[in-house]
């Protein structure tokens, strides 16, 4: 199992299969605990990360992409940022995929809109043919 040690402020991992979801979850959990997130905030962050990493496995070209998990130090609090990126087909209509229930893959269509509800900060950058990058942040209260 990989985890963030005190020396690793930033950890980048490749995603190219289902097994990598476990690594993303455990790394996010370790980062959340280091940042002092509440158990609820931690659970939400890990769940959002699992959704976003699965999106890469399901929808990116060859199911490949990257996840970067970074510790954040604010003036009075700590947080975690996670960036999920791929060079896949991209998303032509972002409004459409951010709507509950939209899916091209036979899923519940909750991955992106659901993840946005689970974290403090959420941004998505994508264009048709240009890959997709999703950034999430969760902060300790």
């Amino acid at each position: 199992m990989m985890s963030l040690s005190t020396e690793d402020a930033l950890l980048t991992m490749t995603i190219n299969g289902e097994a990598d979801l476990l690594r993303v979850r455990s790394t996010l959990r370790a980062a959340a605990q280091y940042a002092g997130l509440s158990l609820t905030a931690e659970t939400k962050l890990v769940t959002a990360g699992s959704e976003l990493a699965r999106n890469i496995v399901r929808y990116a070209t060859h199911g490949q992409g990257m996840a970067s998990i970074e510790r954040l130090e604010g003036s009075s609090r700590r947080g975690v940022r996670a960036v999920f990126s791929d060079t896949g087909p991209g998303i032509a209509d972002l409004d459409e995929v951010m709507r509950d229930g939209f899916s091209t893959g036979g899923s519940l269509g909750l991955g992106l809109p659901g993840s946005r509800r689970l974290v403090d900060e959420f941004s998505i950058d994508s264009a048709a043919g240009g890959g997709t990058t999703v950034t999430i942040e969760q902060w300790a209260r």
């Binding site: 289902e18 097994a19 979801l21 476990l22 979850r25 455990s26 959990r29 158990l39 609820t40 931690e42 659970t43 939400k44 890990v46 769940t47 699992s50 959704e51 699965r54 509950d100 899923s107 519940l108 909750l110 991955g111 809109p113 659901g114 993840s115 509800r117 689970l118």
Partner: protein, 123 residues
């Protein structure tokens, strides 16, 4: 990945324990194994203990909901027990539809519910 799915038979009921950081394929294996066991043993109730899951994302939730529906089609009742509070909050915010899934706080309460529903069936 566990080769043998943790299913315990308790009289007319089956107790299934989900725990740890599960791969998607493992979750689907468990789903298949449980439906097979329900048919084989003619169990009337299934308790799915999820207390050992520290995360349930939309995929895992969907498989659990599907398992409940399949068990019902086989003529048995399934109850989800032991959902951790942080996981419950996350599922609600994620928006996973779980309204049709019967839940109980713990295995003991879940077992009592299953007994209760058997009585209803007998009546």
């Amino acid at each position: 990945m566990p080769d043998d799915v943790p299913i315990i038979r308790m009289g007319q009921n089956l107790l299934v324990t989900l725990q740890g950081n599960l791969e998607d394929t493992t979750v689907e294996q468990i789903e298949r194994a449980v439906t097979r066991e329900v048919a084989r043993t003619r169990a009337t109730g299934v308790l799915v203990d999820v207390n050992g899951l520290s995360m349930v994302d939309s995929f895992v939730a969907r498989v659990i909901a599907r398992l409940v529906a399949m068990v019902r089609l086989l003529g048995a009742q399934a109850t989800i027990v032991g959902l951790q509070p942080a996981v419950a909050i996350t599922l609600v915010e994620l928006g996973v539809p779980m309204a049709h899934v019967r839940t109980a706080l713990n295995a003991e309460q879940g077992m009592a519910r299953l007994r209760g529903s058997h009585d209803e069936l007998v009546d």
